[in-house]
Amino acid sequence: MELDPVLLARWQFAFTVSFHIIFPTLTIGLSAYIATLEVLWVATGRELYKIIAHFWTRIFAVSFAMGVVSGIVLSYQFGTNWSRFSAVTGNTLGPLIGYEVLTAFFLEATFLGVLLFGADRVPRWLHVFSAVAVAVGTATSAFWILSANSWMQTPTGHEMRDGIAYPVSWFAIIFNPSFPYRLAHMVNAAYLTTAFVVIAVGARYLLAGRHAEEARTMLRMGIGLAAILAPLQLVIGDLHGLNTLKYQPTKVAAMEAHWDGTKPGDFHIFAWPDAAAETNHFEISIPRGSSLILTHDPNGLFPGLQDVPPQERPPLLNVFFGFRIMLAIGFFMIAAALYGAWLAWRGRLFDTPWFLRVLAQSWWTGFVAVIAGWVVTESGRQPWIVQGILRTADAASPVPGASVAATLALFVIVYGIVFAMGIYYINRLIAWGPPRRGEEYRKPQLAPIAAAEGASGALREGG
């Protein structure tokens, strides 16, 4: 069997980038949360904030390490797997990546050292400053990389000469039409995802009767934030969708599994789109729902998949189901956050055990929604890697399929191990919980083991 290097390269990138995005999603949110807590600690003098900040900083450190190492891989994969893409877009996208490195990566990586290890060595203000610098760094990184991605979706500000994109207006390249929506949608998603992680941990402690005061603060802050951001995300998402309809109508047609552009579109709650037969099976639909959402008119028309030839259509199942998974989780988050806020207002948030149990199990929701959303937007752009400029099939490196297959297998094995262990250790940090007031941070379960290891080390030295 001939190995298709392009398909393998796509699988490899999809795998490594999906793995990677989990961690920035959490670290963008957590760094902002930690910075907020540190500022609150300085402003109010309450030790509680410092304890919670310290607890989340340890979890942040583990996720940040996984984000960094998987991110470095991506910065080289543009060249190793997508060298033609690099040659075509280097003049326009290169500087955006370059500014990401200069304004974000160095800032976060350098001040991370102070945030993690400097508490005893630097004045309090410098530690708080480092927390803020790391948070600003992660958000700035999102700014540049989402600008670059958005340019691949809605390229502007360039001109093509001999198949190479040359910059004409940097402002138009950076602030391309889909960028503001994508940036708002993703950064909000990161904060929302993190809010649900914090909420889940708080709920877990309350149910277990541990760290009650810290848990209540985490829940209160998390629910408060989510009650604002979850509904806001619906609004941003709607605007983002309208923007996509304007610039990438085929993607929207795939999201809605809308075939015939001459008729109003139904919103399919469920369907099985059949690309070969150009129809949907097992439809459960809200009549004219899509038209209402997209054109704000039940009789409004928008382009269908049949408006373009089959080879110009994206993979339907990814886009269609990715969108529904994201939407379902979004509505769950809105419901959970608003109900939680209502309970809090009635003073019953902390003693509604069934609700706390739901919250404690919902830590993963944001991550799945983020990955599903990226599947929608990236699969939805196919067959283009840069919309209208370069096809994915023409973007890969002159590398044999066997090399790509072998390295893909290595990525799956290595990331599988690292991810499983990372989740395991983050769970262990959660099980240890925040340090007790006035105590140094301890690792209660491990103390005997560490002592035993020290003893055996001493024995080995003696022998």
């Binding site: 543009f78 350098t110 102070v114």
Partner: protein, 333 residues
């Protein structure tokens, strides 16, 4: 401007790569030396000496790769596929040793992350050496794209470079430990550094003989007149710096061995630049052939000239904050 810009960019990327090799060099070197520690407390201390810095250090690797993408997209699009396997293996090795910094402290049994840290650091160093060797030997290019096979880099010369780079990083690591720790670890670092210094000098001698004998363009660069009149101080300076490193180690000095090991690396690097310039994809494409559009290089250069000094400023600040020796039992957490 069209002539100067690529040169300036070659300088910026050259600086980033030099920063990377020295900064990540010492923390990879500490990883390479990890198996020689007597016990977990020593390993704790060795890791603590690099923990606040490793992340910033590794960012220079992104700066080097990203910089190539920005300023010389054609070179990036040729070199990355050419060194496909060693680069991806290096990245995976860096994944293992990177997460080991955080995972090790949380693991019940530290064995596996000790192994991941040591193995990942060593493998990453070897892969970087392979890429260096393959770069010096040259890359097959047709129609502006890589045209060679997946194992073109697998040569005896690349193997020598791999061992040379790993030995060099270990030297940086050993002298770093001499400077930043005390007691048994510092003592062992001093002993290791003497052996490693001799090893590095041996590899330098092999490479210095091998390259002019096998590559006429490199022989001509060094030994033709008038070049030789300007270039003879390079080997002389190398000998002096190597002697300073040796004396520093013998005399029990703390800082001098590390500083002179850094000097040794910079001189090797200078030698490499002299051998290869102006080729960015030896032996066919120069910095001018592969440069990005001037407007792209200019846009990025403005930001770089403003931001790089700031980055260097806060990098120095963090090294200063964590100055002095790491004491036993101190792991900053």
């Amino acid at each position: 401007m069209e002539w100067f810009l690529p040169l300036i960019w070659a300088g910026v990327i050259g600086t980033a790569v030099a920063m990377y090799v020295i900064l990540d060099g010492f923390d990879l070197g500490v990883g390479i030396l990890f198996p020689f520690a007597a016990n977990d407390r020593e390993r704790e201390q060795m890791m603590a000496s690099v923990k606040p810095f490793w992340d910033g250090n590794e960012t220079w690797l992104v700066m080097g790769g990203g910089g190539l993408f920005v300023a010389f997209p054609l070179a990036y699009s040729i070199l990355m596929p050419a060194f496909y396997i060693p680069i991806i293996v290096m990245l995976l090795a860096l994944v293992f040793r990177g997460v080991a910094f955080e995972f090790r402290g949380l693991a019940g049994s530290k064995m596996k992350w000790n192994a991941a840290f040591a193995g990942g650091s060593t493998l990453a160093a070897l892969c970087q050496g392979v890429v260096l060797g393959g770069f010096v030997e040259g890359v097959k290019v047709e129609n502006g794209a890589f045209a060679g096979g997946p194992f073109d880099w697998a040569t005896p010369f690349a193997a020598i470079c791999a061992l040379g780079v790993a030995t060099g990083y270990a030297l940086l690591g050993a002298t770093w430990l001499t400077m930043k720790t005390e007691g048994a670890i510092a003592e062992r670092g001093r002993r290791h550094a003497q052996v490693l210094l001799l090893g590095v000098l041996g590899f330098m001698a092999i490479v210095s003989l091998w390259t002019p004998l096998n590559f006429p363009r490199i022989a001509e660069r060094w030994f033709s007149t008038p070049n030789i009149y300007y270039l003879w101080p390079v080997p002389l300076a190398t000998a002096l710096v190597a002697y300073a490193c040796w004396r520093g180690l013998q005399a029990g000095r703390d800082v001098l061995p590390f500083v002179s090991a850094v000097g040794l690396f910079l001189l090797c690097y200078l030698g490499l630049v002299i051998s290869s310039f102006p080729y960015l994809v030896p032996p066919s494409l120069t910095v001018w052939d592969t440069a990005a559009a001037p407007v792209s290089q200019m846009f990025m250069l403005v930001g770089t000239l403003i931001l790089l000094p700031i980055i260097l400023g806060y990098t120095v600040l963090v090294y200063w904050l964590f100055r002095g020796k790491v004491r036993e039992g101190e792991s900053y957490h």
